[in-house]
Structure formats: structure tokens, C-alpha cells
Amino acid sequence: MDAKVDKDPIYSGWEDLYRDKWQWDEVYWGSHCVDCYPGSCPMRVYVKDGIVWREEQAGSFNTIEEGVPDFNPMGCQKGASWSQSLYGPDRLLYPLKRVGERGEGKWNRVSWDDALDDIAESMLDAIEEFGPHTVIHEGTPEYATVHPTNKFFGTIGGGDIDLNGSINDFSIGLYETFGKFSPVSSADDWFHSEVILIWHMNPVFTRIPFYHFIAEARYNGCQVINISPDINPSHLHADIQVPINGATDPAFGISMVQVILEEGIADYDFMREQTDLGYLVRTDTRRYLRETDVTGEGREDQMYQWDPASGLKLADRADMRLNGLQIALEGTFDVKLADGSTVQVRPALVALKEHLDAKYTPEQQQEITGVHPDTIRLIARMVAAKRTNIMLGYNACKFYHGDLIERAMCLLLGVTGNWGKQGTGIRCWASGMHEGQFIAIEKPAPGAQAASMVIAAREAQFQEFMDKDPSATLEIAIRDSQRLGEGAEQPLAAIPALFWYNHCGYGERWNTPGWGDDSLPRGFQEYMDEAMEAGWWKRPPVDPPRVLIECGGNMLRRTRGGKTALLDTLWPKLKKIVTIDFRISQTALYADYVLPAAQHYEKIGFSIPTPHVLNLNLSDKAADSPGEARSEWNIFYHLLKKFVKKAKERGIEEYDLHTGDKRVIGELLSRFTMGGYYEDEDGNMDEEKINDEGVRDSVLCGTLPMGTNLESLRENGPARFVDFGVTGMGSAQASPIEKDKTHVPFRNHTEGGDPFPTYARRAQFYIDHEWFLEAEEHLPTHKPNPMAGGDYPIGITSGHNRWSIHAMNQANEVILGTHRGEPNVMINPDDAKARGIGDDELIRVFNDVGEFKVRTKIAPNVKPGQLISYNGWAGFQYTEWSGENETEPGMVKWIGFAGGYGHLNYFPIEWQPVPVSRWTRCDYEKVEEAL
């Protein structure tokens, strides 16, 4: 039977009403270039009468690997209704200027000319007062805005706040273990798993386009285990639900390792090669035995293993493979040091076992986690026997001891041989790959030749690093050159923790007893001062920031502490606050200017390229923007023109950057437009050219197939990447891309013996940095969560909600119709009853930091003592425009200031202290409402 259905002759008259609705004039490729990670959904955008009518998933994927389901039809309800926010009531159409006080909510429509003139003047005031580093912006992952924003701030020499350090999608524990946090399997690789541990993730909410791979894996024989305090929505299609006490996951994880080691079911050869658990540790100092100890010279970061036949063996820093050599994993040995003394050493695994056997047997862990010992043993044996994948979201990293949670997860995989092969691993996030986009806006001239020169210079730089250290792989050279290159500068705002400390009064919060880890011998301030003194971090200039330009950021919603922390501290220092957005945001409500940006489907853009999907997705310009909205490229270009004009009027010809560099006013426009090449005949930015050049340059980088360009993407749809290229995150995948296989990272490590980019050059579970030893965190361990916010009975958990991409589409009326239409928190029925609270009632949630008011949703899946406040509501959806972040102290774990130790050195995006918020303490009470 075929699909052909004849129109019914009797009724076709009225039926045409609906047939006529399903009509359109043009179809374009689309996607959502917001921070929807992994995102990358190929959509088709249908245009009728010059207006975007609707969108639908393209469903254009071919099968990648035979025997693995395809990616179709990637998308979600947000993407399927994005068009409805193009012309909705929260869409910004005209430049607005504040009248009245900040946050009063009164605006005048102004012309672009007047707005940009005034903003340019404020920028020049700031430059004349302190320098361009006081003109700042917060980083953004929003792919359509990141390039124009960065180009503008790079051109003027402004200050850039590290995005990842602000939002903390950081996975510090992965970084501490692997020297990188960005291993990411392609989503279809999940299908190969035999065991999936959904752990600090809620893929039913957050991986809507990919969840099917989990359900399909289960139908293919995989056991799915969901670990969460609440019986969260991802329990639905799991085989085992493990309700765990909040923030006790480290104990749960390492107890499984205890079982595996106790029962002798570990993958010992994998451990020997891939991890540092075979490295020798001194019993006297608890530090590694180093080459400098034994010979009195050589490298401090050169460690030893024990060859049962010949004794001490230098751990090979260039190649992890042991070719069958059974280095010792147990025993105690005497070693003679260069100073003539003899010390006892033992493999790190012995120290680990001793630690676990003493404190973390399944029976002992039950007192911490509430998980039954049988469950620990059941899952531990499964993981030891089967290809296991830990589905980790960006949730564990937001706990104070999130690194301990993640190190426990990594350890579980490390002792069971669960990385570097299909169906295994753990993940955070990665981007990169579309390298040409960066090259195209930074190269000195248009065309392939200039791009090739940039690429060659980059390669020469990597080679230099490899020459300096012959044990370094390309991956390590790339990381070192990034760390010592762009990472070295540390401008005013780069490290959010220092920015908040210097300008927003967070020191007081971080020094509050009880809110941090009080088991440490010293307080926050002492650690931070020592780190600064040691030179691990450069002291940034303390000049007050003067101009904030938010584009893709939303500081007041995003920052832990929100208005409570920022309005009295940072805001008064800022002479001008500008937000560039396609909608009204929480930060826009407290800004001086709000400038309307073009939406997706109204400009050329790409969704975030990611190893999860491995496609470059074009989101084309399908329609003109309504009102006076402009693309970010054009907003910044026209702002720069005003800036140059006003500077000349003031007689400014050049100005200094605090880094010692300078900017010449007469060169700025040329710098922004590549000598005018990217300017079109109407005096606007030529985005067709910028994006085409970017795609072609990615081809030159070798990450996209030959012949790919803007036109081919329009013709054929998304292009699959062929190589990860030489970005830090791309090379961190440490695997080739195969055209007919799912992607799994770390194959270069497991199959090729490439060392990990850690201090120890293997997956590092023993961290003998002095701070880690002092904190008793040198081995994966458990620590209780601090009582951040005060000693209150309720812990707040969060996570992305189902309904929005951060707050971006929250006010979309279609989406508002898919839930109660306003924020709520989920609470346990018994907790509610004890406080005399019913469903959909208004409560006041409070702690020593702040408070917010919100409606309740009473649900028995919530653990007693837990309050779930899903993240992503806009502040203005709450009473008094105060959301949950008003109660968050924004603590940072002090150990994040550690440095001077291989991979534990400042690294943009990857290593710095980051703010946490989960399991903040609070209580709540009913708010009596007038009827």
C-alpha cells in the first residue's frame, strides 16, 4: 500500500480550508544559534508572505553507522515553536533608552544614531578615565553573537569575562583527572552502551533530541540506571532507580570502586597503562616518588612505576603503553634516594584501597548515601563486566564538592576499562571544529592564502612546544600554547571569581564560616592570598568597570547572587549598561539602553558545532527582521563607527591597553572589517562574505570536507565534520572522526598510548599538590556538602527545565501554554503539609543570603528535605523580579585557586575557581495572599 490518499470528492470543499493553511512560499535551512548545547538541530524554515510561518525538523540525517539508529528527527518543542517568538510580545523592535531610575521599567524609543552616539561617548569616557579594560562584556556561548562580540571587544581592547567561569559548566573533576574536561561521545554512540548510568543529568529534560538513543540502547540490551535524590523524570525509562541522599555521590561512586577492587574484578591492565594508580607514592611524605628524589636531578614531574623483574621504572611520559609489562599494583618497596636516605614507596592503588577499605565499604557508604549495599554491589559488578557510559550533565560541577563527585565517576570508569571504546566514557561539553570562523575574522587579508599563513603559523607554534618537550603530543602542545598564549594575559575581567571579589563584594560571602569547607586548616582568604602570592594568578587591575555591554549574556539572571549581589555593588560603578538582545531579558530591565538584535532565521548563523552531532548546521537568513532590529555584526560595526568618529572629535588618536599594547583609532575600522573587505556597498557588514569565508577556512583547516562553502550548505544541508582540528577542545577528543562510525573520545590514549595532558601524564587519580594533600583530597574521597546559605533544613537542587533554553524562549506564549505559565518550585508533600502549604500556593523561600517568592508544585517524586527549582525562568516572571539566584551565595571551592602543578594552572574556560549553587540551604513558608 502506498501513501496516496485521494481527496474525498464530497467534502473536499471545506477541507480546502486546511489544505490552504498548509502552504508556503519558500523553504530555508535553519537552526537555533543560541546556547542550546549540544543543539545543532537541522530545521527547515517555512516562509509565507515574507514572514517566517513555522519551522519543522529537517529529518535530513543519513545513517552514520550500520546497525545504529540515525539522528532523525532532531529537535524539541522549543525549536518547533521558535518562530513564534519572532513576532511575539517579548520581541524587541526598536532601540530603547531608560527614563527614570534603572529598573523602573520606563523607556523611550530612540534612534539608532542617538543610542550609539551616547554609548560611544561613554566608552570614550571610560577609556579616558582608566583605559579600555573598563569597558567589559560577559562571554557568551551563543554562537551567532560570539564572533561579532569578540571581534568588537578584541578591536577596541575591552575586557572579557570568562564565560565558563561565570556559568560553571566546568566539570572540574574531569579536568583534574584527565587534564581536560571536554571528552564527548557522539550521541549515537550511546546506543553501543551495555550499561548507562544517568548520574547528575536529567536527559528526559535536557537531551530531548538525543534521548531516543538511550531508549533504543535499552531495547538493544542496555541496562539503564538513574541516580538522583528525587525520582526525576529520567527514572521513567530506567531499569534501576537509585534515590540517593543529596550531594553524597562521591561516597556512592567510590564505594562501587571498593567493591570492584575487593572482588578483584577490575581491569588491571587498563589501570596500569591508562592511570597513575601504578605510580609509586612515598609513605613518608604521601607525595609521588620523583626523578628529582631519586637522582637529585631531572624532572620534578617524572614519576616511577615498579617492574617486578627489575624494580624502579621511569613512567614513560610520552607513551602510556606497557606492552604487557605487569607493573606492580600492590606491595611496598624500599627505594634509595639521591640524598642517601631510604624511603618506602607503594603504588598509588595501595593507598587508594587502604582509603576505601577503611571508610567506604558498601555498608559504610549507606550511612552517608542511603543507598542499600546490595545495590552498590549489583551496579559495581555490572559496570565491571560491561561497556559502561556515565551520562553526566553540567550539574555535578555546580556542587561545592562537584570535583569529588566527578573524580569518583572517573575512577569507577578507570578501574573498569571504560573509556576509549564505543559505548563507554563520560562527558562534559566541547565545541571547536568550525575553526575557520575564527580565522576568517582574524586573518590579515581575505582568501585562502592569508588563511593558510595563519594555519601554518599556528602549526609552527605547536611544533615549537613539541620541540621544547619531546614527550608532548600535538594535543599537549596545543593546550600549552593556549595556556601560555592567550591564557597568560588575564585582563581585568577574565577570571570571574576575581572580578566578583574585586568589584562585587563576594569576598564577604566566601569568608562566611560554614558556607565553605570548614574542615580545611585555613580559611578562604588565606588560600586565595597564597595563590596570588605564589604567582599562580596575576592580580588584575582593580579599576572599576565603567561600561557593560551584554550581548548573548544576561548577568542578572545568570550570576549566582543576582540582583542582591550586583545591584548595590557593581551597578553603581557602571556608567553605562547596554544590552543587545532580541528580547527583553532580566538584565535588559536594569540597563540604560536596550538594542534590538536580529533573531535566528533573520541572519546567517550556525548552531554550536559539537562532537555530540559532528555537523555544521547553517541557519540561513529566511526573512527580514521586524521593526529596526539589526544583526549583532551590524550593531557592533555601527557602534565602532560612532566610537571612531567621537574619538576623533575628542582629538584622541590612540590609547593604551593595560597589557602594554595600544590601539590606534585610525586603524580600528579596518581591523574590524578586514581592510574593508567585509563591508558591503551600503556601509553594512557583509555577512554573506564573513560566513562563506569562515566555512572555506574550515575546509583549509581540514575540519570540513573539500568543496564545502555557504552555497553547498544551502544546497545539501548540514556538512559532517571530517576532523577535530587543532582547537583545544577539538584535539581533546583524542580520536579520529570516522565517517561510518559513532565517535568515542580517547582512542588515541587507549589505542595509541598518547599521554593525557595532566601533570602525571596519565589519568590522574592521585593529586599530590600540597593543597590537595592538606585538604585530604589527594585521592578521590567523600566530603559533606557545606551549609552554604546558613543552617537550614532544606536543600535546593536545580537543573535545566524542560521548557526553555535558559530564559531565552520563556516568554514565548506557545511554550507558556505547555505548563502553568509561571515559575514554580517542586516540594515534597510531607514537607508541604508540615508547613501548611498547598499546591500552587505562594511561598517565600529564604536563607541568610536572600529570598524569593514562588508558587508551589507538590509532587511525591521530590525527596523529603529537597526543593527543586528548575533553572531557566526569567527574573521578571517572579514577584519583585527576584528569582532563585537571589538566595545563592555563589561560593567557590577554594581548591580552584590551586596552581603551579602541571594542568592545575590557570587555563581560560578550563581551570579557575568557579561558583557553585546546588544544595544551597534554605527554608520556606507560606505567604498569606489577599483574595
Binding site: 467534502y11 498548509w22 518547533a80 515553536s81 517579548d90 525527596k863
Partner: protein, 344 residues
């Protein structure tokens, strides 16, 4: 109704073990068909958390359908309050009204008795740690014996040769009898146009060989569509051969054509927090209440076929449910709408 429709019938199979309640089906349908202001509260396709009151609120207790003698059973006509939703919001006041935080964005509707399409999302039933819930999408069942068609006094309703149940909106007089007769309460009323409206099965798409929006746009790959009577089609095999896809509330007597693969669930825990492998988290009697007594065999089949794969054995059923190629879910309706010039 002619005899041919008994044989030729489009059917949906919704795999509740894949549905994640994301509402993409609901939203896809809404954006495509019910965007008029007069249709604001209409969700021809909607997903609810079970157990729950759903949409319209308490629909399972509103009657309709047929009695044991095959006669129309009396039913309640759901009110706009029962459906809820369709809220207006105060964007203007919040963004531009100078309230300085005194006004926040919220539905402009009375708090008392407030309800909406997905009001009781994720609430479910039971007690922690053994609370339970799952998601169930609902749309018009395009019944083989549609009570709405029989009840319509204006003869506005009809069943097409492809089995879709439609209403001629030019003929409909707004009597609402179809709403009372439909036991699934999936018919809405458009006050402005004075007509009842419900899911049209995306017939313009079906006619062009394109799967309905709720099917083609389901990112969970949870919905199969096809001719129920086509031997060998996934829909046919899941319903008739494997017998794991079941009608919702078969006792309503309308012979619905949206079938559901019932949900498995992780085991509950004992008092001491050990896993109780003798029980399923979702009480089987609750599922029986939804899908009838056949649900027990269906669940057993599903579990034993899953176990086969865990033991490394082949399972034809699992292959079908995995649907390695997306097109397998779409039956014969695999055409790409972007490649169709609809204006022709």
C-alpha cells in the same frame, strides 16, 4: 460510515517507553493548526503525566462513548474551565509599564480553579522513594466507531476513506454533542466561530504522503503511523502480531486507532531501601485501568523480549521498536515536506 473504512484505517502506535513528555508533538500541532486567537486554548495533541487529572481536567470521569449494548452513553461536555489554559499574559505592563518590579509576567486569569493543558506535569502518584508517573500523549483517536459522528445532529461529521474522522466546519452548528459523546474528550469548542474543532490527522500532509506533525516531529521517535490493515507494517505487527500496542480505555467502545505500548518501570524499593524485584513501580492495576486486562501480557512480552537482548539473543520485536531507520516509524508517509511545493 461505509464498510471500506473498517478495512482501511490510519493508526498511530505510541511507545510510552520512549515518550519523554517533551510536548514537541503538542507544540508542532499547535504551531501548524491552532494559532488563531480563537484557538488559543486548543491543543489537539497534548501530553499528560499519568496518573493525573490531565486535560480536560478529570476527562476520564466525563462519560461518553458506548454502553455495553452499543448505544451512545451520556457524557459531559467539557467546559473551557475544564480545559483551562489559553492564558493572556501581561508582557506590556511588565516590560514597559514602569512597575519597577511591582508587576511580574504571569497569566491573567483567576487563580481559583485555574487549570491548563499540562497543569499537573510531573506530579504523579505514590510516595517517595516509590513515587511513579509516566507521560501519555493524546490526540483524536480517529475511532473506527466514532461516537462523535453518531452524535452529531447536523451530520457535519464523517469518517474518510483513510479512516480519519473530520467535521465539516461549514456544516457544524455548534451543538457540542460531539464533545459530550467523545469519551476521550479530545474535542474543543471555538466560541468565536461557533464550531467544534479537533485533530484533523494532518490530512493535507497525509494526502501529500507526509506524516502528521505529531509523528514526524517527535524527537523521541516514540510514534509509529501506518495502515493498520497493511500486513507486515510496524503498526499492524505491534497491534496484531506482537499484541503489545493496546487501545486506551477499550471499554469506551469506540474502537480507537491510537494504540499505546504500555510503560515498564524500575522496581520499587523495600523499607530498607533494597530493590524489590518482585514488583513494578507503576501498579499493574493502574495500567489495567487504562489499557484493559491485555496490558499484563503486553508488559510481560516486552520485558521478556528485552531480556533476550540482554542475553545476546535476537529479538524481532526489539528491532521493530528500535526502528534503526527513522522512516520505519513513518509508514508510507515518508515524503519530506520541504521538498514538496505545497503551493502547486
Amino acid at each position: 460510515m461505509n464498510a471500506a473504512t473498517e478495512k482501511h484505517q490510519i493508526a498511530w502506535v505510541v511507545d510510552l517507553n520512549k515518550c519523554i513528555g517533551c510536548q514537541t508533538c503538542s507544540v508542532a500541532c499547535k504551531v501548524l493548526w491552532t494559532r488563531d486567537d480563537s484557538e488559543k486554548a486548543q491543543w489537539w495533541c497534548s501530553v499528560n503525566t499519568q496518573p493525573g487529572e490531565g486535560t480536560p481536567r478529570g476527562w476520564e470521569n466525563m462519560g461518553g462513548g458506548y454502553d455495553a449494548d452499543g448505544k451512545l452513553s451520556p457524557g459531559k461536555t467539557p467546559t473551557p474551565e475544564d480545559f483551562g489554559g489559553g492564558f493572556d499574559f501581561n508582557h506590556e505592563e511588565v516590560f514597559y509599564g514602569g512597575s519597577a518590579g511591582k508587576k511580574h509576567l504571569e497569566p491573567q486569569a483567576p487563580r481559583e480553579g485555574r487549570w491548563a493543558m499540562n497543569w499537573d506535569e510531573d506530579q504523579g502518584a505514590g510516595e517517595w522513594p516509590n513515587s511513579y508517573y509516566f507521560y501519555m500523549p493524546r490526540l483524536c483517536n480517529h475511532c473506527t466507531k466514532p461516537a462523535c459522528v453518531e452524535a452529531c445532529p447536523s451530520k457535519a461529521m464523517y469518517k474518510r476513506d483513510d479512516g480519519l474522522v473530520l467535521r465539516d466546519e461549514d456544516v457544524c452548528k455548534g451543538s457540542k454533542d460531539c464533545m459530550a459523546a467523545c469519551p476521550y474528550k479530545k474535542i474543543y469548542f471555538n466560541e468565536e466561530k461557533n464550531v467544534a474543532q479537533h485533530c484533523i490527522g494532518c490530512f493535507p500532509r497525509i494526502e501529500a504522503g507526509v506524516a502528521p506533525a505529531c509523528v514526524r516531529q517527535c524527537p523521541g521517535r516514540a510514534v509509529f503511523i501506518g495502515w493498520l490493515d497493511e500486513a507486515g507494517s510496524p503498526v499492524n505487527r505491534l497491534v496484531h502480531e506482537h499484541k503489545i500496542a493496546l487501545p486506551l480505555h477499550p471499554e469506551y467502545g469506540t474502537r480507537p486507532n491510537v494504540y499505546y505500548i504500555p510503560p515498564l518501570s524500575p522496581h520499587p524499593l523495600n523499607e530498607d531501601m533494597s530493590i524489590n524485584t518482585d514488583k513494578s513501580r507503576i501498579p499493574p492495576e493502574y495500567l489495567e485501568g487504562l489499557f484493559g486486562p491485555d496490558v499484563h501480557v503486553a508488559l510481560k512480552t516486552l520485558q521478556s523480549e528485552m531480556d533476550k537482548r540482554r542475553e545476546g539473543k535476537e529479538s524481532d520485536l526489539m528491532k521493530t521498536l528500535i526502528a534503526y531507520k527513522w522512516e520505519e516509524l513513518l509508514g508510507p508517509f515518508t515524503a519530506d515536506p520541504a521538498l514538496i511545493n505545497a503551493a502547486d
